[in-house]
């Protein structure tokens, strides 16, 4: 291996993920062809559906918001070397916190409600992540399995609560009572209206702004604080961390709780921003897609934002697609997601040896020419 050269950063974080992504899209194109549709037409409809008109952009960014939160959630745990498969459940329980706060703390002045919702989402999400985190840190149970189990436990718990406790009397559908409209998060088109801009209405709401703020905060936290440094050290080498006086268990718990809290924020967008009530399965797999978002974004907030945008585009474009081409349902988007996770996550190293070889050959020739 001594005659190879370290790949420069632009290949490592730019070219390689892009190659994996292209591969995923090529396979998706083959799937589209296999069921008898035209891939170029599909791409055209999806792009138009995602960015073609103002309302579409709003929807795209609304989906992006969910993916930013779940992607950040996964990434923070990942920096501590943990696979938090439980973002789905943590977001679900975060929704419970947000709903309880909005329904039972409704005496709080409306302007304070966003802060209270944020706290409630973070608290409940973090609490749900705490148990697997504690079990990993102190009793050595593997966080992957416990978080999977906690997703199912959360799902059962929420069905029970929605059917038996939160459902208003006389209602047949298992969902909570509606949240007072004064307390919900403002829509972006309303916010634009305050400043005299006219925008088409869309589900895009204040959570999007908060999601961007979270990107910055996570970046500051991971790379510019003592705790972030400790978390990365534990993730890179727990034994070395112990040597350096960093107790891994503490930072495993810290990283998981922050991760759970960020996951819980997804409920802000869904419950406080758009649905204005707690619905069954409102998390709809966003937590799992967060894994792909984080991996594609190389666990960096900026990358996560870009890949969240890509997934937001896929979601909104996919909705348009199922509207235009009846044989292609939303399942196509699920297939593309699966392929993107497979190619950018699991097969992440597939092209690396070849690219390294080509790059090395190119560099060596260049050096030889310089010498000559």
């Amino acid at each position: 291996m001594s005659d190879t050269i370290q790949l420069p950063r632009w290949i490592d974080v730019g070219v390689l993920p892009l190659m994996n992504l292209v591969l995923a899209f090529l396979i998706s194109g083959l799937v589209v062809m296999a069921i008898g549709e035209d891939p170029t037409e599909v791409v055209r409809i999806m792009l138009y559906g995602a960015f073609g008109y103002e309302e579409a952009v709003g929807y795209t960014l609304y989906y992006t918001t969910n993916f930013v939160f779940t992607g950040l959630a996964f990434a923070v745990a990942f920096h501590a070397g943990l696979f938090n498969i439980g973002v789905e459940g943590q977001a679900y329980i975060g929704g419970l916190g947000v709903t309880l706060a909005a329904l039972y703390l409704n005496w709080i002045p409306a302007p304070l409600m966003p802060v209270v919702s944020i706290l409630a989402a973070a608290l409940f999400g973090a609490a749900w992540a705490y148990i697997p985190a504690y079990l990993q840190a102190r009793r050595g149970s593997h966080v992957v399995i416990t978080t999977i189990m906690f997703n199912f436990i959360a799902s059962s718990l929420m069905v029970y609560l929605l059917v038996n406790v939160l459902r208003p009397q006389g209602s047949m559908t298992p969902e909570s009572a509606a949240i007072d409209e004064n307390l919900t998060l403002p829509y972006i088109h309303d916010m634009a209206g305050w400043f005299g801009f006219d925008m088409t209405s869309s589900p895009l709401n204040f959570s999007f702004v908060y999601a961007i703020a979270c990107c910055v905060l996570v970046w500051l936290f991971i790379w510019h604080t003592r705790w972030g440094y400790a978390i990365r050290t534990v993730g890179a080498n727990a034994a070395a961390a112990t040597f350096a006086g960093i107790e891994p268990g503490r930072y495993i718990i810290l990283a998981m709780m922050i991760s759970g809290g960020l996951g819980g924020f997804m409920a802000l967008n869904e419950v406080m921003g758009v649905q204005h009530r707690l619905l069954i399965d409102f998390t709809a797999g966003y937590g799992f897609v967060g894994i792909a978002v984080a991996l594609m974004g190389r666990n960096h907030p900026f990358g996560i934002f870009l890949s969240a945008l890509l997934f937001g585009m896929l979601y909104q474009g996919g909705a348009e697609l199922s509207f235009e081409i009846p044989t292609i349902t939303n399942d196509m988007v699920v297939v593309i997601q699966g392929l993107v996770i497979l190619c950018t996550g699991a097969l992440e190293h597939m092209f690396r040896p070849r690219v390294t070889r080509i790059y090395t050959a190119w560099r060596l020739r260049q050096r030889a020419q310089e010498a000559a």
Binding site: I131, F150, L157, M332, G345, E348
Partner: protein
């Protein structure tokens, strides 16, 4: 007698609900004992169920359906192996990717082929595995207790149920009494030692994921062509994960895993019967609690409160040859 009859019926249902779990848990065990985490059981099961239903529908043969299911899941396990073993990709991510991919792909292809919202058409008599009556079951049916246990509980299932229960001792024998099994377990504990002995670690791991694919394929076929009569989208409904939990609960060993599957299958069978039932002294049992119990129990076990579940030592670690 009435209560006895009810218990027999409940146990009978337990056999049917635990069958796919047993097959999938054994599948997970083969893969994980050799060091490859297999979170893809759920997706593979779904893919197997879909292929089985499709092929059984077109050919009117449940055996061809089973074959198609097994081929599909073995292909998927090769994909899992390609990502995890050849390219040393992350095993958890690969498993999740296959789950998501299959959840979308089965629905998409189902709609493209049959246009019934992701379902496959209902299967006829020949396209499904039918219950078989074991020899003498009718003759002893009138014998009290033992006779009815034999004729109702043991007899009268389709062949895949018996296959699942026989796969347990077979897996035990393969894992603990054959050279192949010894090497497979060794690859999961100390691949370096196996490599030193001149056995290909990569080869062994591929063989183990293929075994895994083979078994989980049968469980998929069972869902759509034996227990059910068609494929429904997302019909596995978390069974792959329950099987995974059962495997962990059984500490990665065949017989304990089987008992865990029977326990979880029993909880599943009981949950549907407990809907709205008021138990004396306890009150109405929330069905959701019974449904969540397998997961809660597994967490408690993993926390080390019921014995200790120790995973194979190099589980999740790709093997890198020293240079």
């Amino acid at each position: 007698m009435d209560n006895f009859q009810m218990v027999v019926l409940l146990l009978d249902a337990t056999m049917r609900t635990s069958t796919p779990l047993i097959l999938a848990a054994l599948a997970g065990m083969f893969s994980e004992r050799a060091g490859t985490i297999n979170l893809a059981l759920e997706g593979m099961m779904l893919g197997g169920a879909f292929s089985a239903a499709c092929v059984a529908y077109y050919t009117d043969s449940h055996w061809l359906g089973l074959g198609a299911a097994v081929l599909t899941t073995m292909a998927l396990s090769l994909l899992h192996g390609f990502a995890c073993i050849t390219h040393k990709g992350n095993q958890v991510v690969s498993g999740m990717a296959i789950n998501i991919l299959m959840s979308g792909l089965t629905a998409l292809v189902g709609i493209a082929l049959f246009a019934q919202g992701g379902k496959t058409p209902a299967l006829d008599h020949d396209a499904r595995f039918q219950p078989i009556t074991l020899p003498g079951a009718d003759a002893v049916a009138d014998v009290p207790i033992l006779g009815s246990l034999y004729s109702e509980l043991i007899s009268g299932h389709n062949i895949l149920v018996y296959v699942a229960f026989l796969a347990v001792p077979a897996s035990w024998w393969i894992l603990y009494r054959t050279r192949f099994g010894l090497r497979l377990r060794a690859v999961g504990e100390n691949p370096g030692a196996v490599d030193t002995a001149g056995i290909s670690v990569v080869g062994m791991r591929y063989k183990s994921v293929l075994c895994s694919g083979f078994l989980v394929g049968i469980s998929g076929a069972y869902l759509s062509t034996a227990q059910g009569a068609s494929f429904l989208s997302d019909m596995t409904a978390g069974k792959g994960y329950i099987a995974l939990a059962a495997m962990v609960f059984g500490k990665w060993r065949p017989f304990p895993a089987m008992f865990a599957c029977i326990l979880f299958g029993f909880l599943d069978a009981a949950a549907t019967r407990l809907q709205g039932v008021v138990l004396p002294g306890i009150g109405e049992v929330p069905v959701q609690l019974v449904q969540a119990l397998p997961y809660i129990l597994t967490v408690i076990l993993l926390a080390g409160f019921i014995g200790r579940a120790v995973a194979p030592k190099s589980l999740g670690r790709p093997y890198v040859k020293e240079r």
